[in-house]
């Protein structure tokens, strides 16, 4: 248990260290990222103000302390480009991403487990091989390819779904806000689910195959329990327990996979924001986003582990 916590702490420190050192390694003056070669010419006074705001003229140890102190306060910095605190910019975008990823995760996990169970139990049926093949193909394809395909077919050619955004720009009647959100979310959701579901299914299938004919299953059958009950309470549960933490890790993969998908669909989530920030070299925003996402992933993992300990009675007594 302690070792787990230490592990998370190590990761956190590593990421913080990265966040602090990387921008200092940058060649050139971060302020020119704003002035660059754009239509505007910044006056020297304005540059000085920017320099003071980002504390670029202080000695290094002071900058480290300042960095840590601001993080403690919850201040993730100020975005060069958006003229607003990073946290404020990340907020709404992160909500959209959590909505998308959360629903994708639930759907792909639930459906994936069900599919995996069936694939394992009915492995002699003819359709199993085809479905396995499809799963393998889908799992290996990058999200942005699948997304682009869906965008072309359903948005461009068939006109069923919108091309960008998360909700209708023109709020029409009340009650259509939800429908608008659903509609905009449909294709990115489908893309992410198609990417994650096969992996879950294959994982479940592998676990199931190991215990399909385990003694406790035979015992349950002998007691005359119904097949569905056996399937889920006995087989699936025991097959999945060892995989619980690995399932939890997949949330991280999903979150990372959402970045290119959001770009394809111009979905205004944290992934799209990161892409824009990368384009504009908005370093405070890049760092803030990555820090927050990694924290989200760590939190998810910790939750998964804690859930595993709770769910598996064999571990409950252990510290």
């Amino acid at each position: 248990m302690i070792s787990r916590v230490l592990g998370y702490l190590f990761v956190l420190l590593f990421v913080l260290g990265l966040n602090f050192t990387l921008p200092r390694l940058l060649p050139g003056d971060p302020l020119t990222a704003l002035a660059g070669e754009q239509e505007l010419i910044l006056t020297p006074e304005f540059r000085q103000e920017l320099r003071q705001r980002y504390r670029l003229d202080q000695p290094l140890p002071w900058q480290v302390l300042h960095y840590l102190a601001t993080l403690m306060r919850g201040d993730l910095g100020y975005s060069f480009y958006y003229h607003a605190p990073v946290l404020q910019i990340i907020g709404p975008a992160l909500l959209w991403t959590l909505l998308l990823c959360g629903v994708s995760f639930l759907l792909s996990t639930g459906l994936g487990i069900m599919l995996g169970v069936e694939l394992a139990r009915r492995r002699d049926r003819p359709w199993t091989k085809t479905v396995l093949g499809v799963c393998l193909v889908l799992e290996s394809l990058p999200g942005f390819l699948v997304g682009m395909g869906l965008l072309m077919v359903f948005s461009l050619k068939l006109g069923l779904f919108p091309f960008f955004g998360a909700l209708e720009v023109t709020p029409a009647k009340s009650g259509s806000f939800g429908a608008g959100v659903l509609r905009h979310m449909a294709l990115p959701l489908l893309t992410l689910v198609l990417g994650e579901l096969p992996g879950m299914a294959l994982l479940t299938r592998a676990g199931m195959l190991k215990i399909l004919n385990a003694p406790f299953v035979l015992a349950a059958r002998a007691r005359g329990l119904g097949e569905i009950r056996i399937k889920y309470r006995y087989q699936a549960r025991n097959a999945l327990l060892p995989l619980f933490t690995r399932l939890g890790l997949r949330f991280g993969t999903l979150l990372a996979g959402a970045v290119p998908v959001e770009v394809v669909f111009a979905y205004p989530g944290a992934g799209q924001l990161l892409f824009q920030a990368l384009l504009k070299r908005d370093y405070p925003l890049i760092q803030g986003l990555l820090l927050v996402s990694i924290l989200a992933v760590l939190a998810g993992n910790a939750l998964a582990e804690w859930g595993y300990r709770w769910a598996d009675p064999r571990l409950r007594e252990q510290p």
């Binding site: 070669e37 480009y81 003229h83 910019i89 069936e118 091309f163 429908a179």
Partner: protein, 525 residues
């Protein structure tokens, strides 16, 4: 069983796509006009926190008015109904519109103007430099006098035509203007009010301000929104206007869209490092100018979507353009002669002088790689060895400023507005950045100062023409071309090309005057 669930899930998703039409607006109702933008967010739309680049300013311009504005022909009244100028001391008197009100209903008065100037002196804004104003006198509720310390020709465009007037009753206690991002900060005197701003969507939703002093805008709702792919959005009618890549122009025109090219206010230049030999020699710079066929460069590298540049820097689209007599026609032989005149000897490896072969490094950002390669090829034709180096633009800027380069490709805009821009890029603190350390000859320096003081337009035009002639002769940098950018819209709104660009010279198409009831565009007195 699992299969059934999968089918069900799929079915549900398709259902989400096929809900009843009442929840399914396929096209925006005719009341709304949506403009698509590939970048999305341009900052919170208040005068003190918008993104310092053009599109940021543009969005605020719908919410806030300035003293005067511009239409297709020149200056027109805005908050000031009329204005006068008195030369001694240089004073501009503005008579404000008596029916101008703020979005919250309070009347706009001269004290708001006085407050704005005072506030900008205390909180500098990247766009408006109010230092030339020495004193502000409020001569009545709707009359304000601005006294300058010396004649300042760019005043009308750069200050009166760009400075957003702030409501005193809202801003007087704000200490940190950039972080003031509450809804109150968007209360202005412009034709639209802010209805919704969502940063992550790049969404700016404006609704018409009924009590606007020039009449209620014709389009009830105007929105800017981020689009991933502008062509998809236009074709799918999700937006009504957007900037488009040049290749799409003909297809969109065929589909019935109105396609217009934006004025050429941005220039790509070849910078020379004036601290090193031979770049500091005029003969060398002229040799390079003659070695490059600008017309061919445009046709090869930007597919013809650009204008070969004038050596005088200003584009033909600028009202101050004057074609310089000195032109550099493509003549590789003359190039070679010029190089030889510097003491270089042609050898199979390149040009040699004092036992060393001339070998130069050309810095570029990945975006202009093609131009750099074309230049390299052209210079190779006259036997000049050039190495290309692609760097990030922050690195390029840094190296140019530190004068640690030979040649570099860099560009900037603002070339359509007041010719003060020439002063900004040729003299002053930015000369190193934009000119590679060129030292101004005293006569050119004098011309530049004079042009700021000359208020008579005809006289000033002559001065600016002479400045362009000087630049063409001296060639501190080699302007290469002005890229052409296109915009497409469905023709519902009569957008027009603002004379000299919006405000200080923003080459964007969306001037709010196009949305007002007709009969509003009256040129200046």
């Amino acid at each position: 069983m699992g299969k059934k669930f999968l089918l069900l899930a799929g079915f549900l998703l398709v259902q989400a796509g096929l809900s009843p039409p009442s929840l399914w607006p396929q096209e925006a109702p005719p009341q709304t006009y949506i403009i698509g933008d590939p970048q999305g967010d341009w900052g919170f739309p208040s005068p003190m926190s918008h993104n310092p680049r053009g599109p940021g300013y543009l969005r605020v311009s719908f919410l806030f008015d300035t003293l005067i504005w511009k239409d297709a022909h020149g200056f027109v009244p805005a908050l000031a109904r009329r204005w006068e100028y008195r030369p001694a001391p240089p004073t501009y008197t503005f008579h404000l519109h008596p029916s101008a009100v703020w979005h919250d209903g309070k009347p706009l008065t001269a004290s708001d103007v006085a407050f704005t100037i005072d506030y900008l002196k205390r909180h500098p804004h990247p766009w408006v430099d109010v230092r030339p104003i020495r004193q502000v006198e409020v001569a009545g509720p709707h009359t304000v006098r601005l006294v300058l310390d010396r004649p300042y020709a760019p005043f009308l465009e750069e200050i009166a035509g760009t400075m957003f007037i702030l409501p005193r009753h809202i801003w007087q206690d704000i200490q940190d203007p950039a972080r003031f991002q509450e809804p109150r900060a968007t209360v202005g005197s412009g034709p639209y009010k802010l209805a919704e701003y969502r940063r992550e969507l790049g969404l700016y939703r404006f609704v018409a301000f009924e009590q606007y002093y020039r009449g209620k805008p014709v389009v009830p709702e105007l929105s800017f929104v981020h689009v991933g792919n502008e062509l998809l959005a236009l074709k799918g009618k999700a937006v009504q206007a957007a900037a488009i890549p040049p290749e799409a122009a003909s297809e969109l025109k065929a589909l019935g869209f109105t396609v217009a090219s934006q004025p050429h206010f941005w220039c790509l230049k070849l910078l020379f490092n004036h601290g090193r030999f031979p770049m500091q020699e005029l003969a060398f710079r002229r040799a390079v100018a003659r070695a490059v066929d600008l017309r061919d460069l445009v046709s090869q590298t930007v597919r013809g979507h650009g204008l070969p540049a004038s050596p005088g820097l200003l584009p033909p689209d600028s009202p101050w353009y004057h074609p310089p007599a000195t032109q550099y026609l493509f003549d590789p032989r003359a190039s070679r002669e010029l190089l030889a005149s510097l003491g270089y000897r042609p050898t199979p490896e390149g040009w040699e002088r004092h036992g060393q072969t001339l070998d130069l490094e050309l810095l570029t950002v990945p975006g202009y790689a093609r131009v750099a390669e074309y230049l390299k090829k052209s210079l190779q034709e006259i036997g000049l060895r050039v190495r290309l180096r692609q760097v990030d633009y922050t690195v390029l800027d840094q190296r140019v400023k530190a004068q640690n380069f030979d040649l570099a490709l860099s560009g900037h805009g603002g070339l359509g507005g007041d010719p003060k821009i020439i002063n900004d890029v040729v003299a002053g603190p930015f000369a190193a950045e934009f000119l590679g350390g060129y030292r101004l000859p005293p006569e050119l320096a004098r011309l530049l100062t004079d042009q700021l003081l000359t208020l008579d337009v005809a006289q000033r035009r002559q001065l600016v023409a002479r400045i362009q002639e000087w630049l063409a002769r001296e060639l501190p940098t080699l302007p290469l071309y002005f890229p052409t950018q296109y915009i497409a819209h469905d023709g519902r709104v009569p957008w027009f090309f603002t004379h000299g660009g919006i405000a200080k010279g923003i080459p964007l198409y969306f001037n709010k005057l196009a949305l007002l009831p007709p009969g509003n565009s009256l040129s200046s007195p």
